[in-house]
Structures are given as C-alpha cells and as structure tokens.
C-alpha cells in the first residue's frame, strides 16, 4: 500500500490513523488533567509539578485535538473516503488529488499544532475557543506568543484541508452517482456526509477568515478583536485600536456550533443504517430521516448565539436563539423516535457494531435531553461554563460520537484490514 496514494480508501484509512493518533494524545491529556485535579502537588517525572499554564495548555490542546482532529476527521473524512464511492456506485471520489492534498494538509496541521508543546512558553492557554484579547496579546500569559501563532496556523491549515475534503464530497455525491442512484435512493450515511460537507464548506471558511484576522491582529497591526485602552500587567496597550472581542465570539461560534453537527451527523447516518441492518428491516420513514438530516444541518447554522447568552448580546437575541435552538430539538427527537421504532420488536443480532450503535442511541439521548435545558437563556445564564455544559457536549460529541466511530470501525473492519474481526 503506497503512503502517498490518491486512492480514496487509502486516504480514508489515513484519516482514521490520524484520528487514532490524535485521540490517543487527547486522551492522555485528559488523564493528565484528571490526575492533576486529584493530586495537584504530584511531581511528574521529566516535568515536575503541573503549573496553571501547563493545565490550561492541556485543556486547550485536548479540546483542539478532539474537536478538530478526531471528531471532524474520523466520521466525516475518514469513513466517507472509506465507503462513500461504493455506496453511490462510483469507482472513485471525484477529485482524488484534491483528496490526497486534503489528507496531507491535515497531517501538516496536526504537526504544527503539536509543535506548540515544544516552543518557548508552551502551548496556548486560552482554550479551544481562543477568546481574544487573551488569545491576541502576548502579555496576557505564557503560551500566548509562539504557541498561539502555531495554534492559529494549524487551524488555518485545518480549515483549508476540511474545505478540500468537503468540496470533494459534494462533487462526488452530486456528480458521480451511478445510473439509478437517485436522490431518493441514497443511503442515509451519504445524506449525512453530504449535509456535513455542505456545513463544512460554509463554516470552515468563516473560521479561516477569523483565524486570519486574529493572526493579523498579532502581526499586521490590525485591531479586529482587541479594543483600545486595555491595561495588561500595568501596561497600557497602545498598539490596538477599536476592535471588538464579541466579533470573534460571533465568528467562532458561527463555525463552532455547526461543527458539532459535522461531528455527529455521520454518526447518526451510520446508526440509522446499522440498526436497520442488524434488525433485518428497512429504515422506517426513510424520507423523514433525509428531511431531519437536512433540517438539523440548516437549523445548525442559526443557533450559534446560544453560546453567547451571557456574553452581553441584546436580550432579544437570547429569545431568538432560544427559539432556533429548541427548534433543532425537534428533528433530533424525530431521529431518536425513528431509532426506537426500528428497534421495537426486532430481535436484532447483537454483533459488535450493533452494540456500539445501541450505545450511541443511549448516549445521544442522555446528552440530548440536557440540550433543551441549556437552550433556555435564563437557565443557561446559571449553567454557562459549568460542568453541566462540559457533560452535555461530552455525552453527545465525545461519547456518542466516539461510539459511532467504533461502530463504523468494527462494521467496516474488513475494508480496512482485509479480514474479518474474529
């Protein structure tokens, strides 16, 4: 097997390996955080006691690795390259060279990100959301100079790579379907990858612009996100004009929320497919499932403000974003009801992928029910940035998302390794 191959399946395996590497590092970092919380004074070999900046760098890198390099790459780029062409009767992805370029740009992006651990000041400390001015001023803390630059460059590269992959998926699904593979016959996995690819192309371009603007605030003397008159460590910031940190929050979350649907939609598609397969019956209300997939994608673009209920928006915005956010619970509920209906009286085969999929449904419900609680601005104003929110998105993205990755890995293992799991 050639490493620099343009064959879609090799590229898919490449993405899965990249996600595997990232999830290993990301999990080690979360273990490090847990151990630190239990024994804060522990003297680590080769490192010493974990300082606050080390902990915050671990938080930042854990989030960035998991959200971008695991939950975006594996379900979307990984599995779609593995089986999408076969599922629509095409021999290849539409743009093999662009596809390979996407993978290797993602690898470069990961290397740039990881190198932030080894520069002076260490990794960036402002979390995966990188709110300015903390992320825009070197004086704001260690890791906020070279480490932050590397983070921004890495995210920029990742945006380019994701857009390449998203464009490739879109073109493949639109142009490369075999005769008879009409829109109304496409597998739900393909509908999910198509919707996620649409979201990818739309929102990663916004994140790219935001990262570029923040990089300009660092090095080109602009002031998109930094207001005038900041006083850091007793020194007045005279370098910046009249920027707005809120602008970053808008741009970042316009990307950030659809991003979680990019991560979970392929898992939903796979779950619909696997449950139906192992229950030996068709997907009930198949057209409804297509509609709900598209609705989740569409509404996903209009809910970013629910991350900003305490950020100081006009209170009317709180009401509007509450409505769009609750609205997204309806297609999500329709999906859950559909899975329950598939399972009802089915006597399924409890194969390994089926067990992972059942786990996905359970965890998605558990994480999902906390959604309508957080969607209420008055309640969110109490829960914002607490472990309730951490639990909410970890149940949905981390737990359910990873369960769907395992379901896919065990189901398509023969395609990856050329042999069945015994």
């Amino acid at each position: 097997m050639k490493i620099f191959s343009t064959h879609h399946r090799t590229i898919g395996i490449g993405y899965l390996l990249l996600a595997g590497t990232s999830v290993a590092i990301g999990t080690l970092l979360s273990l490090l955080m847990r151990v630190h919380r239990v024994w804060p004074d522990l003297n680590w070999p080769l490192w010493g006691v974990i300082k606050p900046e080390d902990y915050l760098a671990a938080v930042t890198m854990h989030g960035t690795l998991m959200v971008f390099f695991v939950l975006t790459t594996a379900p979307q780029s990984g599995f779609s390259n593995l089986v999408l062409p076969e599922q629509i009767g095409s021999r290849t992805m539409a743009l093999p060279w662009l596809n390979a370029a996407g993978l290797w740009t993602t690898v470069a992006s990961l290397l740039v990100l990881l190198s932030a651990f080894f520069v002076r000041g260490g990794g960036p400390i402002s979390g995966w959301t990188s709110y300015p001015p903390l992320s825009a001023l070197a004086e704001a803390g260690p890791g906020q100079a070279t480490g932050m630059d590397l983070w921004l460059v890495s995210i920029g590269l990742f945006c380019i790579a994701s857009t390449m992959n998203g464009a490739n998926t879109l073109v493949t699904v639109i142009r490369c379907r075999c005769k008879g593979m009409t829109w109304g016959r496409m597998p739900l996995t393909v509908w999910a990858w198509l919707t996620a690819a649409l979201l990818t192309v739309i929102v990663f371009s916004v994140l790219f612009a935001a990262a570029l603007m923040l990089l300009c605030d660092w090095h080109a003397g602009t002031s998109f996100f930094v207001p005038a008159g900041g006083v850091i460590n007793g020194v007045v910031d005279t370098q910046h004009g009249d920027g707005s940190p809120l602008l970053w929050l808008h741009l970042f979350w316009f990307f950030g929320h659809p991003e979680v649907y990019i991560a979970i939609l392929p898992g939903m598609g796979m779950t619909s497919m696997l449950l139906a397969n192992f229950c030996r019956r068709g997907i009930p209300a198949y057209r409804w499932m297509i509609t709900t997939t598209l609705l989740i994608g569409l509404l996903g673009l209009s809910v970013w403000g629910h991350h900003m209920f305490v950020a100081g928006l006009n209170p009317w915005a709180g009401t509007v974003f509450q409505l769009t956010t609750i609205a997204i619970a309806i297609p999500s509920t329709a999906k859950v009801l559909n899975w329950l209906m598939t399972l009802w009286g089915s006597r399924p085969t409890y194969s390994t992928p089926m067990l992972w999929s059942l786990g996905f449904v359970s965890l998605f419900i558990a994480g999902g029910v906390t959604g309508p609680v957080l969607a209420q601005p008055a309640l969110d104003a109490y829960l914002h940035n607490t472990f309730f929110v951490v639990a909410h998105f970890h149940l949905v993205m981390a737990m359910a998302g990873v369960f769907s990755i395992f379901a896919g890995l065990t189901y398509w293992f023969p395609l990856i390794a050329g042999r069945r799991l015994d």
Partner: protein
Amino acid sequence: MTLTPILAMRWWLPQDAALHGAALDREMYLALWIMTGLLATAHLVMLVGLCIGRREAKRSIWRLEVAPLLLLTILFGWMTIRAERLWAATRYAGADPAVMQVEVVGAQFVWYFRYPGADARFGKTKPELVQPGEGNPLGIDPGDEDGRDDRVSSELVLPIGREVDLRIRSLDVIHGFSVPEMRVKQNAIPGQVFHIHFTPVHEGRYAVLCTQVCGLGHYRMQAAVRVVSIAEFARWSER
C-alpha cells in the same frame, strides 16, 4: 475506597439568595425532572422493544413517530414559552434608574467594585492612570469632580432587600462575573459595559467567581459578596 465523598457532594443547587432566584430554581428543577423522565422513558422503550418477540406487522408511521413527535413538540413549546417569560422578566427591562449602582471591573486576576459615593455618579477613568500599586487600580481621573467620592472595594457589600444595578466591564481580557447564590452570570468584556440587576434577599457571604478562562491565575480569581442589613451597609458606606 469509600463512597463518603460522593454521598457528601452537594447534589442540588446552592442556596438561593436573590429575589429572582426562586422562579429560576423552579424552572430549573422542572426542566431537569422533565428531561430525566424523557431519558428514562426512552430507555425503557428501547429495552422493552429489544426484549419482546419479533413483530413483522406493518407499523404506522403516524402513530409511532408523528404522534409522539407532536406531543414532544408541544412539550418543548410549552417549556420555551415559560423560559422566555422568565428571561424577559429578568433581562428585558433594565433596573430602575434610581437603584443603587455599583461598577464591577475584572482585571487579571482580581475583581474590583466601585461605589459612586454620595453624588451617585461615577468619575471618569483613563487607562494610563491605572496604578494598582498606588491605590488607583481603575485609573479614576483625579481631575473629575464626580470621581472624588468614588470608592473602590475588593469586596462587594450590598444592603439586603435593595435592588442593585451592576455595570460590568473589564480592563484587559474577557472575564466571567458569576455569583451562584445570586443566580447571576455575565461576561465582562473589555471595551464594553454591560448591566445586570438583582435584589439580594438573604444576608451572608457568597463567592464571586470568574467563569471565563482569563489566564494562568483564572482559578484563583475570586472575591466575595457580603449581603448586610441596611443599617450595617450605611455604617460601611461612611467608613
């Protein structure tokens, strides 16, 4: 291995010490119980559905999917209306202009509280005058009449039963002003001023936290709110 730390954990919301807290707590518990019920029901349906024998009969989408979906949509709609009323009640209207004003300023990694004094007007501030070491952490302009009687405190002292309007700002990066017992949370964003208002109804001392990562001292960015009787507040103000 003992279970004591888990059993001793505080499982419910902390004490509610603000006037609007009771309604918020009711809504919170209602939402949590409804969602716990949905979680349990969905799992029960899944388990029962997996245990019963195989059914091949043609199933009605309308009865099994659309009807429950409609019911849940009505439930979510009802919760949304309640939530919107609660949000509107606390946030749509600003505080009465006559209420007590206090300015909250976040700076790496301290909270400052500024009282406008007898004239009820805050003096102008200038970034270049900020000198925490010389007793002027907010950069109050000594040339401004309004600022002469301004008082900067490291503790937020509030009289019981009187509404307070906080004007929240930040000197450097984004901070998160949060007092769990007062059921308030609002980001402090440099370059902008935001207002929140509430009425403390229980005397006591409560923690002010920072809920937005603001740098390496974020974890220790804490202060205190002290809610005191009106007489004691008057004494504190004159001191």
